[in-house]
Symmetry: C2
Subunit: 219 residues, 2 copies
DNA sequence: CTAATATGTTAGAGTCTTCTAACAAATGTT
DNA sequence: AACATTTGTTAGAAGACTCTAACATATTAG
């Protein structure tokens, strides 16, 4: 069983390797807020446990064993987030910090019960897919809103990231998952988009925001 | 904020000092499964934080600050146990291990939400009182069944301890909190009691068991 | 292609929690 | 009271995770 610290390294490696497959020492230390030497020695430790592939001065990657271990932690994290929102009435901006702690709890019974009580949800409150019990995860096919052009109608399906600030911002604009959005116009100068949805006839969002709004086509 | 380890020492001190007020180094090390020297140094550490009173070769006691800190951990533990039983469908024999981990989670929001969702329960699934937000706990006025005499009718209100084995034993006899019990007879030789309750006309329990069944008078 | 910069590594140390071995104090027994 | 036993303490060390300072290797820019 990996320690809580080791689990956090695996999880960070997992999210940093989305798409990329390989991760720097420095990226990891930035993500975990520890120094490079600390990461260096922990990576050696994880290597000795067969959880990462690593050679001096080369980038790090998860082994299959490490990838699965990480996915199972992500599963616990996302099931918890969904449970807190669905069954306990928390807002989607409140659950990350709590799930960050609960994800290390050692009790498959607890998480499987959450899973059952929610009828096996496929995604967390931010639209990120929940890995299954075997650690398999379905890659989401959603695209950033910024890729689409004027006139297009889409539905908000997930978020590129889910920092508390971003979630509070979306709350303030009354934008939530499942909302149907129409692109009214795009500012060519800075890529900002004017959108229409629900009772918001015209809201402007920066390009950065639109890159983090993952959507699917409608109609 | 106390570390998880420190919290476990406080909690152990708290339960060992029920009634007694003072605790030995050896009792603590037995309860926590660590060596005497380990306890000795941790107790010095807790003393330096103002959580315990302690002098060389003397027994240990919690300060008011320590007592409150411990009670708040017990509050989190018992709220969690009750939540797992009431809202997640676990059996009373399954929840201790999970609560043992969840009690260290740092999130008053989580535990206050549990409290609200259950409408501020007063006791945990084993009948032990839940301390309030200020760390105050109502001493239970229940007495062990073994104190009563033949013919007496009582109601099972709480348990003296709640080890998994004991709980499974009670499950096997279909005995749960709230059950009304009549003492049919008492064996003078070994103090075992013959009880009648619900659809169990005659069940014999050892004195040791009856000392852990806390009851209140009925009728 | 060298020099400057960025990135990674090693060495040595500190904190927290734990241990064992050896010693000291308190308690119980005849 | 004197001895034996139990209980508590000190000293020294180890493992996990972290740091800073100093050094080594890679990468980037002129």
């Amino acid at each position: 069983m990996a320690s809580q610290t080791e689990e956090n390294y695996l999880k960070a490696l997992y999210s940093l390797s989305v798409g990329k497959m390989e991760v720097n020492i420095s990226e990891l230390s930035a993500a975990l807020n520890v120094s490079n030497p600390t990461v260096n020695s922990m990576v050696k430790n994880l290597k000795s446990k067969g959880l990462v592939k690593y050679e001096k001065y080369k980038p790090i990657s998860l082994t299959e064993k490490g990838r699965k271990a990480a996915a199972l932690i992500v599963r616990k994290h996302r099931l918890t987030e969904m449970f807190l929102v669905e069954k306990m009435g928390f807002g989607w901006e409140e659950v990350h910090e709590i799930a960050e702690q609960l994800e290390h709890v050692n009790s498959s019974a607890l998480f499987e019960r959450m899973d059952e009580l929610m009828d096996h949800p496929l995604v967390d409150p931010h639209g990120s897919p929940i890995p299954d019990r075997q650690g398999n995860i379905s890659e989401s096919a959603y695209e950033p809103l910024s890729k689409f052009s004027s006139g297009r109608k889409v539905k908000l399906a997930a978020l590129g990231h889910s920092s508390t600030e971003f979630l509070k911002f979306l709350n303030s604009r009354e934008l939530s998952l499942g909302t149907e959005i129409e692109i009214k116009s795009i500012e060519t100068y800075d890529g900002s988009m004017v959108l229409s949805y629900q009772n918001h006839a015209s809201e402007t969002f920066t390009k950065a925001v639109c890159e983090s709004l993952l959507v699917e086509r409608v109609g």
